[in-house]
Subunit: 317 residues, 2 copies
């Protein structure tokens, strides 16, 4: 596969490749939340996806598009959570070895899920440098292929399939799709999908105030780090990459920040009213719509619930 | 409508009547739980139903089959929870007044949900006698029609539509359907559905040890009360009625009891692995399959997740 921005056919091919291994997750609706926002909301339930998050899609596509001679040495990555599970799951499906570097403070539920898929876990300090160093050492030793959590066009094409299904299954023309943004794999994939398959649909992102790198980068037109990191949305801590940022800059309408309090309120609505176990990062999209309800009132809004991997012993309510 | 055991056409008519108002809830699957049980499990997610429980179906059918001259005076019922919401919801949909008697110790999330639908709530002591007395007074005063939570053939026909969808959507012939049993509305409806639409499918029930009236009644061939009431599954405390019991006796294969510990374990799997908010009563079916896994190994088992109305402030884990 050529290493260029995914075209329409790349995303269609990704969907064909990953579909046999994933759930076509349902679209949920809620009269209560429609009334509350004045919008018509269509929730894409990727918390119900394999491994409990959309990242199963990108991990599968990245592995399934690798050539045979690379596959035989396995794959490696670093991740605090859902991407780790995604690569472990996808490698198990394809029958190759997975080496996963995880920060030593990762949630126990995520570590055990990775190990359950048969992946080899290496722990490291929770800094970007320590993670990369650990994974570089594994790659040098084993010849495994490093699969970046988001700055990888095949990962982006895989994540794009979530919003492709949302567009196909909503049963109506969406005015808006709202996705959370961390490193931007899901967001850039969503933006490409809207561009190719539903060009009238505007794509927005929700981002935690306590990891507000993407909104800064979007405004300043260069990749920036967050001024500070302090948020419950632990899946969205990273900053954009040189592959995700240009797609986001050119295709996304706006990035809207939300506080942890607003994230927890949205999360509680999803649990209490929609009966969905959603992790904080997965509630950020709804939080952004709730906060800006006058802006979205009267519109048909697709909301990507990105994941549901939360430690039941550490709930914020 | 004649007051006789629902025939096939009664259930088909009920499905046509209620379908416009309810979600056709998804069928979920879990590789993890299939591996754990050795069976192939198909979960009917009625926790994702309107009002968060299958009871929306029975409430709607009972109201939609009432004649005009009765409807105009409204409907009344007593319920500690999901049936209360079901009648409040259905009455609001049809545009009639609902009078709901609720025990004063009902979960706050259930009381506020009933009030949100515009129903008039009357509180009473939490005894069967106090409930009936309060609802009798309302009926005498208003001329409202009393809709029993389960001992009503139109309620039974409505609940039967959940397993009808499960049979239609599973994509395979089910060997077993497992439903929880309280008063027996869902279980008798499930048994009739299997009998009419999938006669090779055996119907089992799961029942809490701490509300074990149905298993006793099933064995002794007469309606019995539970020897003691002490269970976390607060939706299953009542005993069978003279309309539900004969259907269950003639059509159900067996009733399997589970402890609260087994219910909580099953509930935790549903939350943690399937990302579904499920109330204790809604986890009883899975608990019964997990406890009897040698019996169900190798079979295709439909499991009805009956509801998800749980107080997030009072979780058992």
């Amino acid at each position: 596969m050529s290493d260029t921005v995914p075209v329409k056919e790349t995303i269609e091919a990704a969907h064909q490749l990953v579909a046999p291994f994933i759930h076509r997750t349902p679209i949920a609706t809620s009269r209560f939340l429609n009334d509350l926002t004045g919008a018509e909301l269509f929730f894409k339930c990727e918390n119900l996806q394999k491994i409990g998050a959309f990242k199963a899609r990108g991990g599968l596509n990245a592995i399934l598009t690798l050539p045979e001679d690379k596959l035989k040495n396995g794959v490696a990555t670093h991740s605090s959570g859902n991407h780790a599970q995604a690569i472990a799951f996808a490698a198990a499906k394809v029958g190759v070895k997975a080496y996963i570097v995880m920060p030593e403070n990762s949630p126990s539920v995520k570590i055990s899920a990775v190990q359950d898929y048969g992946a080899e876990v290496t722990f490291c300090e929770n800094t970007p440098e320590a993670r990369q160093e650990a994974v570089d050492a594994i790659v040098a030793r084993t010849g495994a292929t490093f699969i970046h959590p988001f700055n990888n066009y095949q990962v982006i094409a895989g994540q794009a399939t979530a919003s492709k299904e949302l567009i196909e299954d909503a049963g109506t023309q969406l005015d808006v799709i709202m996705a959370p943004v961390g490193g931007g794999g899901l967001l850039s994939g969503t933006a490409l999908t809207a561009h190719y398959f539903s060009p009238e649909t505007k794509v927005y992102a929700g981002e935690p105030e306590g990891a507000a790198d993407a909104v800064l980068s979007f405004r300043s037109d260069k990749i920036e780090k967050a001024p500070y990191i302090n948020t419950i949305a632990d899946g969205l801590l990273t900053y954009l990459g040189d592959k995700t940022f240009p797609i986001i800059k050119s295709q996304v309408t706006d990035i809207l920040t939300v506080s942890d309090e607003e994230i927890i309120t949205a999360m509680r609505y999803l649990w209490e009213r929609m009966k969905l176990v959603v992790e904080p990062s997965g509630a950020v999209s709804l939080a952004a719509v709730l906060k800006n309800r006058e802006q979205f009132a009267g519109q048909k809004v697709g909301i990507i619930i990105s994941g549901g991997n939360v430690d039941l012993g550490k709930l914020p309510f």
